[in-house]
Symmetry: C2
Subunit: 282 residues, 2 copies
DNA sequence: GTGAGCTCAG
DNA sequence: CTGAGCTCAC
């Protein structure tokens, strides 16, 4: 499908198109993936979008400066790309079949302007891609920055969007929410990534009106999107964390039909430590 | 073919073999290759020995410590390996169909014991593999060390071998001898790699009785074994140097039938900056 | 330009 | 364990 984009509504659409001027949403597929290097994972990403044809793919940890972002390869695959990167760390991108409007790539927190945020709009669908700071260690400065960044993001959302709007917030939140969401809850309770202060921040997103679309559909545990490279055979032993999310306002949660985690992408050459989380909408 | 090895002469050969106890040399193929990393070039090397089936392959710049040398892969390809490596730099190895006897891996010069030398014997054929220091810059300490190392190698040869013996000395000498042997002789005259002092040292090897087997067979220029990575399209433009050699005593030069440089190996994935130099013997 | 190995971060 | 980017050497 193609989303009805702003430019189309503005009049460039020819009269034979069914949904001209309509606000009726169309089926779409959305995915998020912490690539852990756009350049290293480019073959996996091109293969994946070739096979799965998502309408929108949110990418985190692209670890590539804008001048080196592989725009051509992405465009040859039939996608538009918006991105903001920096040297070595962080970096986010949104690939989409239809171009993104109203693009924003900055969310400065405490004067720190890391490449962790991209937002935009495709037709009536508003999208935010977030790469939440990892936080290093509970109680550390980096941990406090993580909480501040989450608070700032939520503040930005409440100030700029309405719970009744069509909004998706996807990305790597670096927080597991419940005992179902990581392989050793007792071992990590109170540690970074599984700390009550982080979880309370995420609850704030829910309280505002965002829904964890994966959890709406799937109630089982042991469903992870991240496996630490440092744990020997961690993927095979499924010692992972569910820390990547696709959140949606009520309207989006409502029209979400199915959700799945692509464990196959981990069988490819040079897998990332994360994998693809996918939501399909009616 | 299989060379008549020491162990065979010692009695393990069955009586149907033609050359039992004989000193008559058999046809063999010998090659030298500066791998510039044994680990990175392993696919190229395995492919090459699989296709070309050399009896002996001399390798330089293996850049791998002995504990990490890919012995298994080499043995699975049907070769014995002797090697001496160090971290990051230098490193030499000899792969051979028949095992090498009387292996020596040390040639300490001025107290510096870098991994630049392996010698051994297969039957009556004595072999030396040398990775001569690059020399940095004419007149530098490293340049003087290069000359000292060459002098020491020649002294070692004259002290331990006889010009009438069957001796091969192969490797990367990091010296071009004449204007035919590099792409810009006037540009590099007197520079490291094309300096009269280095050339005089190599002449010493010839004066003792070693023959540059390539040059015995091929009189043309523009025949190179090394192309500096840093020169844009240097290989395509054939801006190279002939600095790798297979030298032999008179008896070996005599029975050398043909010599060639394998430019095809440079078309493979991740080519080295050097390529294979090959001599076939009757 | 390329490889090794180091530091930093995850 | 993995990636980036740095230094070093060639």
């Amino acid at each position: 499908m193609e989303l009805i984009s702003h430019t189309l509504v503005m009049g460039r659409l020819n009269s034979s198109t069914a949904f001209y001027g309509s606000k009726v949403p169309q089926a779409m597929k959305v995915a998020t993936f912490n690539a852990n290097s756009m350049r290293v994972r480019l073959p996996i990403i091109l293969d994946w979008i070739g096979r799965e044809a998502p309408d929108i793919l949110f990418l985190q940890e692209t670890k590539v400066q804008d001048k080196d972002f592989p725009v051509n390869a992405v465009e040859e695959a039939g996608y538009h790309a918006v991105f903001r990167g920096q040297k070595s760390y962080n970096g986010v991108a949104i690939l989409s079949k239809s171009p993104l409007d109203d693009v924003k790539t900055q969310l400065s927190v405490e004067g720190v302007d890391e490449a962790r945020f991209v937002s935009g709009r495709i037709g009536d669908i508003h999208v935010i891609n977030a790469y939440v700071p990892q936080g290093f260690e509970a109680g550390s400065d980096k941990f406090r920055f993580k909480l501040a960044w989450l608070e700032h993001l939520l503040g930005y959302i409440t100030a700029n969007y309405d719970p009744s709007s069509q909004l998706l917030v996807a990305g790597d939140f670096n927080v597991a929410l419940t005992d179902m969401d990581l392989y050793d809850p007792d071992g990590f309770r109170g540690e970074v990534g599984f700390h009550p202060d982080e979880q309370a921040m995420i609850e704030g997103f829910f309280n505002w009106g965002l829904v964890d679309i994966f959890r709406k559909h799937i109630r089982e545990g042991n469903q992870y999107t991240f496996w630490d490279y440092r744990i020997p055979s961690g993927f095979k032993r499924n010692m992972g964390w569910r820390i990547d999310y696709i959140l949606g306002t009520a309207s989006q949660a409502e029209r979400s039909r199915s959700v799945w985690i692509d464990r196959e992408a981990r069988a490819m050459e040079k897998p990332s430590d994360h994998t693809f989380l996918v939501v399909e909408f009616d």
